[in-house]
Symmetry: C2
DNA sequence: CGCTTTTTTGAAGATGGTCAATGGGTGTGG
DNA sequence: CCACACCCATTGACCATCTTCAAAAAAGCG
C-alpha cells in the first residue's frame, strides 16, 4: 500500500471504524505528491480546488486574510489531516491553506473521493466525521479566543496541538515540532506579539511548557492541561494519554 | 408534503441542487415536533442524541459552558437550520443547543437520515454541505472575535444574521426578530455587557442599525456591511441581496 | 560579515473590563 | 391596586490588560 493510502487510513482510524472493503477502496484513490516551503500557499481564498489535500508530513495552517493585511490563523494541521476536505462540497475556498514549515502534501482528485463514497458509504461517513471534528476544533477556538485570558488561551492551544500530535504518533516523547513564529502564534490567538512573548515567558516560568525555535516541549502535562482548562473530549478521538 | 419536509427541502436548496428523487426521499423521513420556551436546552453537552434537530420556527443558539458558569455562544440558527447535524456522525455533543426565544423543533431519527443518504447520496452531500457551511460560519466567528474591534465585530454579527435570515425568507423587509439579551450578545461576541451596550449606542448613532427589545432593524445595509467588513461569500449561499 | 528577520524589552496609551449604582419594565402576591 | 422583587438595560468611574510604538539584541542567511 502506498504511503498516502496508509497515512489516510491510519488517520481515519483515529476516530472511525473502517472495514477491509473501506481500506481497499482507499487504495484505489489516485493522487499526486507535492512539496512546499515555509509560507507557501497550497490553496488560496477564492480558489475552486479540484483535488483534496492530505498532509503527509510537516505542518500546515489555514488563515483568513484581513483588509489590514493581518492574518487570522484558524487551525493547524499535521500528518493525516485533510485541511481542505470541505472543498469537496463547497465550491469556493473562503480561506487559504499554507505550509508553516516544510511540508509534503498528497492531492487526491475530488472525483475519486466522491466515487469512493458511493462505493463505500462508511468511508464517506469517516471523512465526513473528519470534517465534523474540524468544526469542533473551530468551535473550541471561538471559545478559546473569546473567553479565556491570554495565558490560558495559549496553554490551551499548546495542549490541543500536542494532544492531536500524540494521537497521530508524531510527538516524540514530550516534544513536538511546531514551526511557528511568535507573530504567527499571535495571529492564531488574537494577541499582539509583545503579549505573545510575555505570555510565553509566564508559561515557561510555571514549568509546564517551553516553546522556542519552533519546538514545543511539554514539561508537565497535567499542569499545562490545568492552566489551559483543556478537556480533549471535543477532539472526538479514541483514548490517548499524552505522557 | 409535511411542513417539516418542506422546510428542510427549502433550506437545502439555498445552497444545493436537489433532484425530484432527493425530495421524494426527504418526504420519507419520520419526525416528532416539540416546542421550547426561551432558555430551554434542546440537547446538552455530553448527550448522545439519537435524532437530529431541525428548526421549524424561532431562534436557537449553541454554546459552550465554561468553568466560571459563563457561556460562550458559538452560533445562532433559524428556520431550516439543523443545528446538531454533526450529531449524526459524532457520538457525544461537545456543546449545548438551546432556544433563544420560543422555538418549534422537529426531531428526525438519525437512522432515517443515514438510510436516506444510502438511497440518495446527493441528499447526503447536501446535508454534508450544510455542516460545512456551519464550519465556515465558525471560522468567521474566530476571525470576528479575535481580530476585529468591537463595533466592527458587532456589526458583522448583525450582518450575518440578517443576511442568513433574508436567504431563508424570515426577515420582514428590514426587520428581524432576534430574541437576545445584551448579556447573550456579549457572550456571543466576547464582550462585557457594559461594552455591548455602549457599542450598540455607537452603531445606532451611525444610522446603520438598531437593536432593541429583541428586534434588529437595518437602517442602512450598505453602511452596516461596510462597518462590519461583511463579505457574505463565506456563507456559500446562492445570491441574495438584502434590501 | 552585513543584511534581514525575529525575538526581546521598555514605556505610554487606549480599549475594554470590573464594579457599583440607578432606572425601567414586568410579574407576583398581599 | 399597590408594593415588592427581579431581570435587564443603562451609566459612570476606576482600573487592568493588552496594544502600540520604539528600540535593542539575537538569530538566520546570502
Amino acid at each position: 500500500m502506498e504511503l498516502t493510502h496508509r497515512v489516510l487510513v491510519r488517520n481515519l482510524r483515529e476516530h472511525s471504524q473502517l472495514a477491509d472493503q473501506d481500506v481497499d477502496q482507499v487504495t484505489k484513490l489516485s493522487f499526486v505528491v507535492r512539496e512546499y516551503e515555509p509560507n507557501d500557499d497550497l490553496i488560496r481564498q477564492g480558489d475552486r480546488p479540484k483535488a483534496a489535500a492530505l498532509v503527509l508530513s510537516g505542518t500546515v495552517g489555514r488563515y483568513h486574510l484581513l483588509g489590514s493585511g493581518r492574518r487570522q490563523y484558524l487551525s493547524f494541521h499535521i500528518v493525516g489531516d485533510m485541511p481542505d476536505a470541505q472543498g469537496l462540497f463547497i465550491d469556493q475556498m473562503d480561506h487559504t491553506v499554507c505550509a508553516m514549515g516544510h511540508a509534503v502534501i498528497a492531492f487526491i482528485p475530488h472525483g475519486d473521493v466522491v466515487n469512493a463514497f458511493k462505493a463505500r458509504p462508511p468511508l464517506g461517513f469517516a471523512i465526513w466525521r473528519e470534517t465534523l471534528i474540524d468544526a469542533a476544533i473551530f468551535r473550541e477556538a471561538i471559545t478559546n479566543n473569546s473567553a479565556r485570558p491570554v495565558h490560558t488561551r495559549m496553554a490551551h492551544l499548546f495542549c490541543e496541538l500536542f494532544y492531536r500530535a500524540s494521537a497521530s504518533g508524531v510527538a516524540a516523547q514530550n516534544r513536538l515540532d511546531l514551526p511557528l513564529s511568535l507573530i504567527q502564534l499571535g495571529e492564531a490567538l488574537g494577541m499582539a506579539i509583545a503579549t505573545v512573548n510575555r505570555t510565553l515567558q509566564r508559561l515557561r516560568a510555571t514549568g509546564s511548557v517551553d516553546f522556542r525555535d519552533g519546538v514545543l516541549t511539554i514539561r508537565n502535562w497535567d499542569r499545562l492541561a490545568k492552566i489551559g482548562q483543556f478537556d480533549p473530549r471535543y477532539l472526538h478521538l479514541k483514548k490517548v494519554s499524552p505522557l
